[in-house]
Amino acid sequence: MKFKTFSGGLHPPDNKQWSAHKAIEDCPIPPQLVIPLSQHIGLPAEACVKAGDRVKKGQTIGRAKGFVSVPVHASTSGEVISVEPRPHPSGRNLLAVVIVPDGTDEWLDGVEPARCEDLSPDQMRERIRDAGVVGMGGATFPAHVKLSPPAEKPIDTLILNGVECEPYLTADHRLMLEQPQAVFDGIAVMRKILGVSKVFIGIEANKPDAIAMMEKFSGDTGVEVVALAVKFPQGAEKQLIKAITGREVPSGGLPMDVGLVVQNVGTAVAIHNAVMLGRPLIERICTVTGPGVFEPKNLRVRVGTPLKHLVEHCGGLSGDPAKIIMGGPMMGMTQLSLEVPATRGTSGLLLFRESDLSLHPEGPCIRCGRCVRVCPARLLPTTIAAYARLERIDEAESYGAMDCIECGCCTYTCPAAIPLVQLIRSGKAAILARRRKG
């Protein structure tokens, strides 16, 4: 059977077998929660608690600042001991609310469930925003913004992203298996908000059980489950749209430009929790895996749990970690230490030991063209990288540097071990800096 897909891409060993069969476990409450006020794309939230305050689970501790921003909530009840800069996944020290849990895990009063039928789209959007729902695939773009398309951009289709093409990660896979009803309830909410009937769920063909589960629940809802070729980056928004609908999001555009909204399956569950249960986004599923972890697992993690507690719950380290990666191996970010807290975007924690790393020195480009063949954005990575290295910004831009989605396929496949993505990133940074200067 031939599955739908896009052009380019590749299939690195997916290493999902370590955690794909493991049911989601609850990660216990740590002795201290460090909840960053910046966990989304857009302006950071503004702290509205201070040291000494007692907070309950689900209480707002940071208010949204502006439209593209979301509030932040306490992920358990306890005492705020400080609001101060703490290590953040970005590598910097950023403002965070530090909470010492009181162990009762008591919900805030006044959390009320609601029924989809009783709410207007605007009320739903409000609940989604107040719950702090962001894109759970890792991009953490505020969900209510995506669900508020301008009137001149009519939306006809909703795509749910259950692809999870990053190697090692199995969080979305487990979520689809264990909370299928929540996924479909989330879909129902989004359908009503957007007023669309056509819904697709895209899943990579290497998760037949998830595909079967989604098909079972789709029943007569009219939701179509699409099995996609096992290829990275199948889950990248634009590539997913291309594979399922054949539409190509214009360069520099957004999915709404071609009448589409794409949301991760995790986001659908969070939307269900926000709208129907009235519960804010204070926990997520995170795959803790990699050769540096004793027993890889899928965990339900409270936002603000330091990474070391995740590792502890997985039997600890199986060697000195040489690389700590938040997210997947292709697009994740390396972390300075395990003190960094898990946030709303932490889809995975991946640990490598020194012996697991490939540390080949960079060589000259032999123009083999592999990077060109795998580039899902259909660029010439080696050419852009060469121009970026020479700081020839105009040429880098004209060769499409800004269209690079930084998926990492080119660097992965480069026999000369050239850090193509990093070079292109530096070119993009220079282009953006120049645009700002005007």
């Binding site: 970005s90 590598g91 910097r92 390396t334 300075l336 540390l359 960079e362 290295r389 850090p419 990093q422 070079l423 990133r425 530096s426 940074a429």
Partner: protein
């Protein structure tokens, strides 16, 4: 034979006429002063004047748009020549050089992580604010060295940028390129500098660097008029360059450098022997 002479000669004549016609018809009026100015500029196209290249600056000077004294890399001589061509008074400013305010090479300063990637300071800085634990220290990946149009910067084997005071023309390219602002412009005749760029408290600096300023105030106590402590970092008052010398040997972390005596450890540069670089004994 005769045909060859005629045909080749004919073609030659035709071409000559065409060229002569074209040079008259399409002649571009150039201010002779622009050419004269361009002639005396260094031709390094370094951009220190703020214009893209020497010819752009020459045009700006000739049109009266730019001051005649912006070619600092060319030095006094060039500025005087340009001023002379333009018939104006040269406005002389004290010559400046770029100084790297750090001595923390890989042996002396700690790294908070091991960096894997392209040798470019700006790229490293984007990853968790750079590998050096010190928030202000030189990253040692040589971005300034590669951008310097005059070959005035070297990287020591242990990864520290050092700027040659004789070769530096003060074009500021490195100042703009350094993502951590470790490089700053200083008057050429100020030879004594506290080579540290960390405003952290002394105890924090001690943890990650053996040659950082720990704000112990010893220099200030020794020569009060020549040193002040600005936000946990000692700064030299260059009006008292001579006096400042007395504190150099007393600095416990050896982070005060007298460029008249020598460059930071690991550098192959030697102090110049001519005035005004050299202090009179």
């Amino acid at each position: 034979m005769i045909e060859a002479v005629v045909s080749i000669g004919g073609i030659g004549m035709l071409a000559a006429v065409a060229l002569g016609f074209a040079s008259k018809k399409f002649a571009v009026e150039v201010d002779p002063r622009e050419l004269a100015v361009l002639e005396v500029l260094s031709g390094a196209n370094c951009g220190a004047c703020g214009y893209p290249g020497c010819s752009a600056y020459a045009r700006a000077v000739a049109s009266g748009e730019a001051s005649a004294s912006l070619c600092t890399p060319g030095g006094t001589e060039t500025i005087e020549k340009v001023a002379h061509i333009m018939g104006v008074e040269a406005e002389m400013t004290a010559p400046q050089v770029a100084v790297v305010f750090c001595q923390g090479d890989n042996r002396k300063a700690k790294n908070k992580y091991r960096y894997l990637g392209i040798a470019d300071c700006a790229s490293a800085q984007r990853l968790a604010d750079g590998p050096k634990t010190c928030p202000g220290g030189c990253l040692g990946l040589g971005t300034c060295m590669r951008i310097c149009p005059f070959g005035a910067i070297e990287m020591t084997p242990e990864g520290l940028a050092v700027i040659n005071r004789e070769k530096c023309t003060g074009c500021r390219k490195c100042v703009q390129a350094c993502p951590r602002s470790v490089i700053r412009m200083e008057p050429l005749d100020a030879t004594i500098h506290v080579l540290c760029n960390s405003h952290d408290k002394g105890a924090a600096v001690r943890k990650y660097c053996s040659v950082g300023c720990v704000a112990c105030h010893i220099c200030q106590k020794t020569v009060p008029e020549a040193y002040r402590i600005d936000n946990s970092l000692a700064v030299v008052n260059h009006e008292y360059n001579e006096e400042a010398l007395a504190a150099v040997a007393k600095c416990p972390t050896k982070c005060i450098c007298d460029f008249a005596e020598g460059y930071p450890e690991g550098s192959t540069f030697h102090p110049p022997t001519k005035a005004p670089f050299r202090r009179s004994a």
